[in-house]
Symmetry: C2
Subunit: 648 residues, 2 copies
């Protein structure tokens, strides 16, 4: 009995972490029940998980309704307790298997109790009710156990580098080296299964409900102008290379020009960014394009799709999503992907500082776009230490070349700040009031060029929130999903290396805002675009635009504004002259979206076989050397770094 109780605790613990794997209410009487998805959609039976195989049930579905049935279970040995019982695991759950104690079953007992854990076995036996008081309500099969009659070891398991339990800590490098073992963990199984389910629902929404056509586009293509981040693929034609495209952008526009009307694809995309944390050299986007659509049309399509595919257990999604202009996002959050789950917005205090006799403030305000901005960190004085404040200031100085001055509101609401002596009591009071600051808050002030000051404070807003949360201050509800559309981006931005030249804020196919067409030839830097970003909890999860469908405008943007070599895109320009309908679309970053939905810290947790941040597959050791002989058919040879004329 003591043993049984121990097991009960053990399986309860395991179930607590394995829970997400359970696909549905798994008692087979439930499995036959007809479920309505949404009022106007489909009536659908749950999937049959035992079709085409010899098992009668999964390890997660037996319940008291099955008592007396002869069953065959296939699974992994998760736990052994002397020669009394074992626990069998599969993707669906756990089942307790009782070993018969009579002499003629000694062989079977020995085999199952001595096999190594994680061995693969088949057990045939009878479902029996657990003894009274032994039910485990937290285990899907907790009402029953299976009395073994026959068993076979299908494959043994050697000693593993780590135990298959979510609770067992292991380094990410080890997890990636033994990815096939990590995939057995409840968390990864759950993530991959939920991803598959969400994508399937997206497809049903697009294909079955709205007539979208799933079209596969090539991944062996040619370089796009400015495609410095595109992997190249040598071919057997000397000197000729394919490129792995960063998105199907050109193809989807060409499909629309081909009259396809509604295109979508769950598209593999490639980007060579060298080593960047939480980026992958290949990633997946939900790629959508439509004819005759405007910004509002794409937005409601995406809202509808996300609502339709949203996992029930994450609660309902409200739509339409809020919309914010790029200008407002920058002013209030200092970033184009605001995390709207918490306040601490940036406030403009320029007017209050107009009369302050501080040299650098006055100097700033004389410059174009000069301003003074501030944020208030509620309760900051209680948690953020002087040292941390210093390093925050240092960070934005480095990153944005922006000075930030802190004010700590003492318990008596008096100011502790280098600013203190330059401001009148009245001004301080009015600032405290304007910022709605209370005692023990921290205020951060930044005087500078508008975008720079806001960006710096936006960065500090996020850092401060993370710090407060580290100290247990609940700021962002981890179960909340704040979607937000950010719109009215600039069409062009000054180039980083030469502010006199313009580059596309997003890509050169983005249409200008209809209200700004007059500015196009006179002041292109002021033109807003018809680009829209979808933001979720402060991460960009999608971006799209209404595209340019006029060939002359497209040529002018490429040639006259962006100074690109238009010959590389001559096929697109010609296509735009050939009866191109007005069109627009969007691409959602699927990896990031799923990661946020499941609450994973990294997109690596929602990708079956991710690369390390250095682009390596730690399991197979890719990338690898290729012999000079094999390279010869591609007419290339490796230049050892030491002989290269310039560095990387």
């Amino acid at each position: 009995m003591a043993l049984r109780s121990n097991l009960k605790i053990l399986t309860t613990c395991m179930l607590a972490v394995r829970r997400p794997v359970v696909l549905e209410n798994s008692c087979s009487t439930h499995r036959k029940y007809i479920r309505t998805y949404t009022p106007n959609l489909t009536v659908q039976r749950t999937a049959d998980l035992n079709s085409f195989v010899a098992r009668t049930h999964t390890c997660g579905e037996l319940c008291s309704a099955h008592v007396g049935q002869e069953v065959a279970l296939y699974g992994w040995l998760q736990y052994q307790r002397h020669d009394l019982f074992v626990v069998l695991r599969d993707f669906h759950g756990l089942t307790q298997v009782i070993l018969p104690q009579d002499e003629k079953c000694s062989q079977l007992r020995k085999m199952l109790s001595e096999a190594s854990l994680e061995s693969v076995v088949v057990v045939k036996g009878t479902v029996i009710r657990r003894p009274p008081g032994q039910d485990n309500p937290r285990m899907s099969t907790g009402e029953i156990e299976v009395l073994a009659k026959e068993a076979h070891i299908l494959n043994t398991c050697k000693k593993l580098p780590f135990e298959i339990k979510d609770a067992v800590k292991k380094t990410e490098a080890l997890r990636m080296q033994y990815r096939y073992l990590d995939i057995r963990s409840g968390q990864l199984q759950s993530n991959l299964r939920l991803r598959s389910k969400i994508v399937m629902k997206m497809r049903e929404y697009l294909c079955n409900l709205h007539g979208f056509v799933d079209v596969e586009t090539p991944t062996l293509f040619k370089r796009t102008p400015g495609g410095a981040k595109e992997f190249v693929v040598p071919t057997r034609e000397p000197g000729k290379f394919y490129s792995l495209p960063q998105s199907p952008q050109q193809f989807k526009q060409l499909l629309i020009i081909g009259g396809l009307d509604r295109y979508f694809q769950i598209a593999r995309c490639y980007r060579d960014e060298g080593s960047k944390p939480d980026r992958q050299p290949e990633f997946t986007q939900v790629d959508i394009e439509m004819s005759f659509v405007d910004q509002a049309g794409i937005q409601s399509l995406v809202e509808g799709m996300l609502r339709f595919s949203w996992p029930e257990e994450k609660g309902p999604l409200q739509a339409p999503f809020p919309v914010m202009s790029y200008a407002d996002a920058m002013s209030s959050y200092g970033v184009d992907k605001p995390d709207t789950r918490f306040e601490m917005k940036i406030q403009d205090v320029t007017s209050q500082f107009r009369e302050v006799q501080l040299g650098y403030v006055q100097e700033t305000l004389r410059k174009p776009h000069g301003c003074v901005k501030a944020i208030c960190i509620p309760g900051g004085a209680k948690f953020i230490k002087r040292k941390e404040l210093d390093s925050m200031q240092e960070l934005v100085k480095q990153q944005y070349n922006q000075e930030v001055v802190p004010v700590i509101l003492r318990a008596d609401s008096s100011w502790k700040s280098p600013l203190e002596k330059f401001l009148s009591a009245k001004l301080k009071e009015s600032l405290t009031e304007a910022m709605e600051a209370k005692s023990e808050d921290i205020l951060l002030f930044a005087a500078g060029e508008h975008i720079r000051a806001c960006s710096a404070l936006g960065k500090l807003r996020l850092d401060a929130a993370a710090q407060l949360e580290e100290y247990g201050v609940p700021l962002r509800d981890p179960t909340a999903f704040h979607f937000l559309w950010v719109v009215d981006f600039p069409l062009f931005l000054p180039k980083e290396d030469n502010e006199l030249e313009l580059e596309s804020a997003h890509h050169p196919f983005t249409a200008p805002h209809p209200e700004d067409t007059a500015l196009l030839h006179t002041d292109p830097a002021k033109v807003r675009s018809q680009h829209y970003d979808l933001v979720l909890n402060g991460s960009e999860v999608g971006g799209g635009s209404i595209r340019i469908h006029n060939s002359n405008l497209q040529r002018w943007v490429l040639q006259d504004v962006l100074k690109e070599d238009v010959s590389l895109l001559s096929h697109l320009l010609e296509a735009l002259q050939s009866g191109a309908p007005p069109h627009g679309g969007i691409a959602l970053g699927l990896d990031r979206l799923i990661a946020i939905i499941v609450g994973a810290p990294s997109i690596r947790d929602v990708i079956a076989f991710p690369k390390s941040f250095r682009g390596r597959d730690l399991m197979s050791n890719a990338p690898d050397m290729v012999s000079a002989e094999d390279l010869q058919q591609y007419h290339i040879q490796v230049i050892p770094p030491c002989t290269e004329s310039s560095g990387k």
Copy 2:
């Protein structure tokens, strides 16, 4: 009235070719109707094609039920008749638009009648009944026309390189250069839409009905042993390359070892074969893998999936599919992918030839596997000329080093053949009878090694069938779909360049046939495998196997039989030791399958943007040059062919 009649004929013609584009019964009263897919599946509304856009209807859906309604249509100008009417086209159909003849509409009339064909327009107007007798029953909108009230040209169209009509012949090179125009054709629209629909149904079957998990696997991987046809992708690590895998084989096995149980993926695969007709450097397979499954399980899964996703208009699919052993396929059809839509099977006439005093026959029969085989081409004498017969003989001599001797049965059933004088009247009679030959048939005899003689006759069987069909003899029903499983392949084959060494008949992960395990170490060349091919109308459309799940066996096959460097697969060998369940799977060639379903002559007709047979994208001109500077970050340089030490 004459004009109206002309148009009726014209649109009838257009509709005849555009028909396949029509997605469903398109009268909107029909669109609301609830349709049952299959008894135990889903009840589903047809897709809403007008959601998210400003059009009220597509160009293919208006009918008399809409008379009196104000509508907005968006489409392409397909046809103009003076300033009387125009025809508007979209992906869904055609609608006739009547131009109002009153003076105040002269502007609208002028605009629509003078715009270039294929211009993109929006027309708003009223649906009216066609005048009595003017209905066009072959046009989905043939009961009505739209009286225009307002119209705008959204984009004009320049003169196109070819008209958008299926009837207009154009070279494939031109079609590929202007692929976006070719996609406007009814045939390509229909192919791409049907492909999307079939794939969606496959997903529903796998995911929703049978609990398969859609998992994306990497395409940037490392070379597999013997992966000479894998494209390489240079990285920023000097000398290190990714490989684009030919299939997700390793990943799907690792997912199964990871306990995923049921995996599928519509997977992009890559193969660098240089220039091969009707091959593409990237292609798509329906990739499936399951735990705890046997050959019969995979076969019924695939049969179920194909039946479920099979287009209704192609008639029902019978299952289970017939099964044939590799040995029988070779004996009867001379090929491992028999076209069973017609007879003309290969027959063994060795016993009849045992006593024939012909030196080369006797010599052949003394050798191992020596035999005499024959096929009968019914009515061949009427259609196949002497010259054609000569070149058929020449072909197999070249290709298989196999002599074939023809017998022409004259109208009086007498033999015309070089064999004639060597055979007794009785033997000739017995052969004619055994072959069920009639007057004016042609018999082809081949004496030689079994596989060689069969292969030669198998090739001639197909060539003869094609020739007879060219003369109008109906042999293969173009609407028939003959699926066939070919099983019991050999596990290993002698290497082409060294008959003493063995190579995998399919791939090194294929499990041996359980009945042949005893032969594994004694006579591996005789071991049959658990590989199965799916053949459709004489084309291989799929292949799979039960895999080796025992690490020792896998190592023995790789190391001792195949002499491969096992270190390249050490991660897989280690995974097999870590609790790998028995498993198996299959991959279907999606492009080929869809091409056969739609009756397309090439897989290029079911791929949106195919490469030419030389691997070029004729539209964008990929592959292209990459500057030495851009290659430098990948530590490679191009070797001009003239400086290469050895040829290609």
